[in-house]
């Protein structure tokens, strides 16, 4: 991957999937595959309706943690570019929360690296969600299934 081509952003504004994916391949013809994932705010969780959520993060560490995950993906697969964008602040159901896009020569590396980055982000990037529910505000608890998903990348 070209030095400095990785894009890591933490922002309150929405992002545009199409614009981000187009930016990755703009002006180059060596990319054969781009895999992307977009996470959205749901209107329900753990049996309750969710009318809004607020995402808090740890400024400074967040960007560093996301860059570390992307670096690990670059060390493990042959990648040409990586974009990770995560929103913070107040979000409504249907709003995009997170974007991971990975470019490579062939699809296998792009698919695998995209999923790896999302699984690692879920357990290692310092974000916390607080939901507005009919019963009041509540902090979201971490899920054991996220630990399991992240751990499978360490399996021999």
């Amino acid at each position: 991957m070209k030095p400095g081509s990785m894009k890591i952003r933490v922002q309150s504004e929405p992002f545009d999937l199409g614009a981000e994916v187009n930016a990755m391949s703009h002006g180059r013809t060596d990319i054969g595959a781009i895999a992307s994932f977009v996470g959205l705010a749901r209107d329900h969780n753990d049996g309750s309706g969710v009318s809004a959520m607020t995402l808090e993060h740890y400024p400074g560490m967040t960007e560093k943690a996301l860059a570390t995950l992307a670096d690990e993906a670059c060390a493990r697969w042959t990648l040409l570019d990586v974009t990770v964008i995560h929103r913070v602040g107040r979000l409504l159901p249907g709003d995009p929360i997170v974007l991971v896009a990975v470019a490579s020569s062939h699809r296998g590396d792009a698919f695998a690296a995209c999923e790896f980055i999302m699984d690692a982000l879920k357990t290692r990037a310092p974000f916390w969600k607080k939901e507005d529910t009919p019963q009041g505000e509540r902090w979201v608890d971490a899920r054991a299934s996220d630990d399991t998903a992240a751990a499978r990348w360490n399996a021999p």
Binding site: G39, L55, Y58, M61, P126, F127, W128, W139
Partner: protein, 83 residues
Amino acid sequence: MTLRVLYFARLRERFGVAEEPIELAGGCVADLIALLQARGGVWAEELAAGRAFRVAVNQDIVALDAAIPDQAEVAIFPPVTGG
């Protein structure tokens, strides 16, 4: 040594503080946690053995036996829930 200690999310709300300077004689994360537990109340409750929380030293998540350098930024927070 003097540390800058930060709290996030549910722990920040429960402790009622986002950031504080702390003087610590010992040198590892477990020593800092023991000092905070000794405050009693919500501190003892939230940081009790078996409770799920994470500690970052200079913005890297570390284990309880990790050393803390002088002037470090230490953050204590719940397991993360982004994405």
